[in-house]
Amino acid sequence: MKIMNMVNALNDALDIKLADDKSVVVYGEDVGVEGGVFRVTEGLQQKYGVERVFDSPLAESGIVGSAVGMAVSGLRPVVEMQFCGFIYPAFNQIISHASRMRNRSRGKYETPIVIRMPYGGGINALEHHSESMESIFGHIPGLKVVVPSTPHDAKGMMISAIESNDTILFMEPKRIYRAIKQEVQEGKYTIPLGKANVLSPGSDVTVVAYGAMVREVQRAMVMAKEQGISVELIDLRSIYPIDKETIAKSVKKTGRVITVTEGPRTYGVASEISQIAVEEAFLHLEAPPARVTGFDTIVPLPKGEYHYMQDPYKILYEIERIVKY
């Protein structure tokens, strides 16, 4: 066991896979010499050389499109989108090629690509650096979208992602890149993608969250507990595939569900989870499924961001409302 934050844990996972699989290559903007603007790839170029860990020209479409080419010809590229707001030039390559290649070629080609991308708000960043747009990616057939919330999960999920034969958008909650430290198992281990994790069992209300929102829910739970409200917290971990079974089981038990996300409300992940609750646990519901989400607005710049972000009070407000419903 070793104490790590999420940056260390992701770096460790990349290190392990670079060491054990020659087909793994890591590239993107500033990931080589500098080791990434968040230092997730620090030291890897020195260790594995410029042919395997390198800086690309500044072009997201080029990065993901070339990864598709590498993947169909036998490599396993792990590429970085420097910030969530810069992925859009690559959107065409993701939606038109990476996510479709297997289907279009009827299984002849596959695209084992990991697209790493820091996302989310709460760090007083510049424009286009704080969005949380997992819903639009979760909507793409053929793409997997995952989000860890702890260093331990980040490492195990990253190893699984690199070993997977699918294209995976690996969203990294940059707000908690360094904020959470925990003991992380040394060496290789995997965490299956597509499995949610019940972080704390409870009986009154199910709260589903992922990424940086898990910590906010945990803070709200402390206040809820003071009022005698017992919350069951589920860390979703995977936006797609979505773990219906874990959600349904929990909602059947508690009869209430709230989903907490950073992104905009309409057509979001929270809507999907509400629908799962209705479909899978309709007769158990004591209250309508609820959402704590961003507004359907552009993420405000830092001066106004606190209005938009989820905080323990916003979550508690909804917990109280739903429990009293």
């Binding site: 603007v37 072009a59 286009h128 961001e305």
Partner: protein, 368 residues
């Protein structure tokens, strides 16, 4: 001049050398001493503001900021040439040009303090907001060029991008479209040698960035971007070409980012002190100042007297931005649509109900 400096000839256009001596009399721009002096003072103001902004950031009074230090002659020359009716399409390292167009420091400070009001340039005509997604703004410049041509207006577009931006598809699409449409756009590449940590040689195998103009059938030139006179001359001629309907033009302005990419960046990770020092002698302000002093237009004493006034004015605008006022819940919701949809209005009402609840709750917590 464009004939003499065809990008395939591997020449860089320079008028004044590193000591501030005119080495290319043939291409010395026509500029009055008054105009030249004003340009220098504007560059000095921009540099002072830029350096002070970095220190405000270090004091925690402003968020992430991309310094302009070392690149002032490019924005300075554009600022000296752009007219009211011309358009400016910025990236994010052109402070001097924005100020020349009428954007205020207070507005720029507001933006970097994290307030959208800082992109609402109250008294600046035809300036788009700062563009963070690299090179995405370049295609807008082409579209504005089309409007100008369509409406037969007397106007030119000045579009900015960095060396890193030339790798993005949008850069190529913008210049290609503009070439096909023959629109009045001056594409200015500030080649400051690095896209964050990535040197130009990792961006392109081309021998220069200017040479890319040839592939798109547009006029191009490589200019010493730290030489104000060369930049002024190149932009002047480009503007004339555009006004005659013979645009677009692509200018590679060779410069050096003396500061960090942004205040979050640490350049010691990827470049050497020796390299940084080798660019110090090419500093754009030092160079123009030497020339002005030789011409008896300026003196160290005059500069010493002026700087405190500048600092005072910069700080005044900074404090005004700091005291701009509260960011209200309504501010989050406004300006998304011509008319706010009902659902969005409802989201604001819900949020206001939550705020009331929270206020009561926090009061009650305090009582306990």
């Amino acid at each position: 001049m464009f004939k003499d400096y065809n990008p395939s000839d591997k020449k860089t256009f320079q008028v004044m050398n590193e000591e501030g001596k005119i080495v290319n009399k043939q291409h010395m721009p026509e500029i009055t001493p008054e105009r030249l002096l004003k340009a220098y003072k504007d560059m000095l103001f921009a540099r002072t503001a830029d350096l002070m902004t970095v220190s405000y950031q270090r004091q925690g009074r402003i968020y992430t900021y991309p310094p302009n230090y070392g690149q002032e002659a490019i924005a300075g020359a554009a600022g000296a040439i752009m007219r009211d009716q011309d358009w400016m399409v910025p990236a994010f390292r052109e402070m001097g040009a924005m100020l020349a167009k009428g954007v205020t420091l207070k507005e720029l400070f507001l933006y970097f303090m994290g307030n959208e009001e800082g992109s609402n340039f109250k008294n600046a005509k035809n300036v788009l907001p700062i563009s963070v997604p690299i090179a995405s703004q370049y295609v807008h410049a082409t579209g504005i060029g089309y409007s100008i041509k369509y409406k037969k207006e007397n106007s030119v577009v000045y579009a900015f991008v960095g060396d890193g931006g030339t790798s993005e598809g949008d850069f190529h699409e913008a210049v290609n479209f503009a070439g096909v449409w023959r629109v009045p756009v001056i594409f200015i590449i500030q080649n400051n040698q690095y896209g964050i940590s990535t040197p130009v040689k990792v961006q392109t195998a081309s021998e220069s960035l200017a040479i890319k103009s040839i592939a798109y059938g547009v006029k191009g030139i490589r200019v010493d971007g730290n030489d104000f006179l060369a930049m002024y001359k190149a932009l002047r001629e480009s503007a004339d070409i555009c006004s005659k309907g013979e645009g677009p033009v692509l200018i590679e302005a060779v410069t050096y980012r003396k500061g960090a990419h942004t205040t979050s960046d640490d350049p010691t990770k990827y470049r050497t002190k020796e390299e940084e020092e080798s660019w110090d002698i090419k500093d754009p302000l030092k160079r123009l100042k030497s020339y002005l002093i030789k011409e008896k237009l300026w003196s160290e004493k005059m500069e010493e007297e002026l700087l405190p006034q500048y600092k005072q004015e910069i700080d005044r605008q900074f404090v005004e931005a700091e005291n701009f006022g509260e960011y209200k819940a309504e501010d989050v919701f406004m300006h998304h649509y011509a008319e706010t949809p009902d659902d969005l209005k409802e989201q604001l009402s819900q949020y206001n109900r939550f705020l009331q609840w929270r206020e009561t709750r926090i009061k009650n917590e305090a009582k306990k």
